[in-house]
């Protein structure tokens, strides 16, 4: 066959070579088909570790207990005991270094998350002691009267 028939073929081969070379340079070494095959497992393996190394900020009450033993103990036995400290006090992160002070939410709205009365027949929400925020001392902070760590009405 004549040269002009082969010429486009060389062009195509050249293009393929360039693409393969570019692929070699651009795609990271650890890019491979994981254990789930091409459809679900085609990825950069190193990314799994990158996600595992993501910073944890929610430290839970065991971390709070290291320094604020008395405060953590205060809650024991109260209906608020299952609530994590950081739900209201803000996530600890690297406290006391960073942040130095946590952002404690003392607002009425925080308490109303559970204590607005919603009489929902198919939800446990109906069993929580609830108020109508428009009727029950509107404008006042809940924490002025109620102790959030020992909320029992008998102890008020």
């Amino acid at each position: 066959m004549k040269n002009h028939v082969w010429r486009p073929l060389f062009v195509v081969l050249g293009l393929v070579a360039v693409i393969l070379l570019a692929r070699l340079l651009i795609v990271p070494d650890d890019f491979s088909v994981g254990e789930r095959g091409y459809m679900y497992g085609y990825h950069r393996i190193g990314n799994e570790q990158e996600w595992k190394d993501f910073k944890t900020k929610f430290r839970t009450s065991t971390y709070c207990n290291d320094c604020h033993e008395d405060r953590v103990a205060e809650r024991v036995g109260s209906p608020h005991a299952p609530i994590e400290c950081e739900n209201c006090h803000g996530l600890a992160g690297d406290h006391p270094e960073n942040p130095e002070k946590l952002t404690l939410d003392r607002s009425r709205e925080l308490c109303l998350r559970c204590h607005t009365r919603l009489a929902y027949p198919s939800s446990d929400r109906k069993d929580i002691a609830g108020i109508d925020p428009q009727e029950h001392n509107p404008g006042d902070a809940c924490v002025d009267c109620h102790n959030p760590h020992r909320p029992n009405l008998e102890e008020m």
Binding site: E35, R44, K52, P82, N87, C114, I128
Partner: protein, 279 residues
Amino acid sequence: MKRRDFLKNTLIAVAGASIPLSALEMIDPRELFAAHPELRWVFLANTHKCVGCGFCVKACKVENDTPYDANVSRTWVERYVITKNGEIHIDSPKAARDGFISADIYKGQNPLALPEVDFAHGRIEKPSAHKGEFEKIREEDIAQAFFVPKLCNQCENPACVQVCPVGATYQAPDGVVLIDRDWCIGCGYCIMGCPYGVRFFHPVYKVAEKCNFCYHRISKGLKSACVTACPFGARQIGNIRDPNDPVTQSIMSERIGVLKDEYGTKPQVFYIGLNKEVR
């Protein structure tokens, strides 16, 4: 070589080359299960126990650096109020970040009165003057009302992963679907591909974003942030391969349901107390 032969041979060569090797390789799911028999993360949500306090959403947003005031979240809580005349009211104001503090159903905001948001930093520059529209529902009209926590289902057959053109999202060996932030090109196919609407565009990183069961926490032996934050035990995470795990035992013995089973994605977030109105 004749012209006819040339065309014929070319056709055969092209057809042969277009079959990727992977197509010839048969994947047996049992083999895959056997490869990691010891760990597969699953989630169990209880719609009776959930009271809609929204502490899970608050914790998730801070833990995972989701811009706090931007209207996106990895997890959210939906309220379903079904009245006696059969009407279904569903709302999730601010993804329930601040809980449900009113009996009125949030009907959305006037689009002309949306707040000014600095998306680069995820801050609200100027809050909306308009508080949104609410619908009152009389207590005596309610037939059923409950809260449903929503998050990524970490499907066994994730539709979002199939559609990714660059291999930036994938299923880790323990079943969690992750996104490679360095590799994602932000095309948004996965956001549209997810039948559950759990994916969104991260306003800061400019890539697709989703719940990953707090992968950094569960791989260190901690519970996901939302599970830790829930005071009622409405959210639980466990390993379905461990027969002694309380979550596995609940899934095996309780009457449970999953969302959109008919899509064939095999979702791995199980719900107690699901009914047909929940989508």
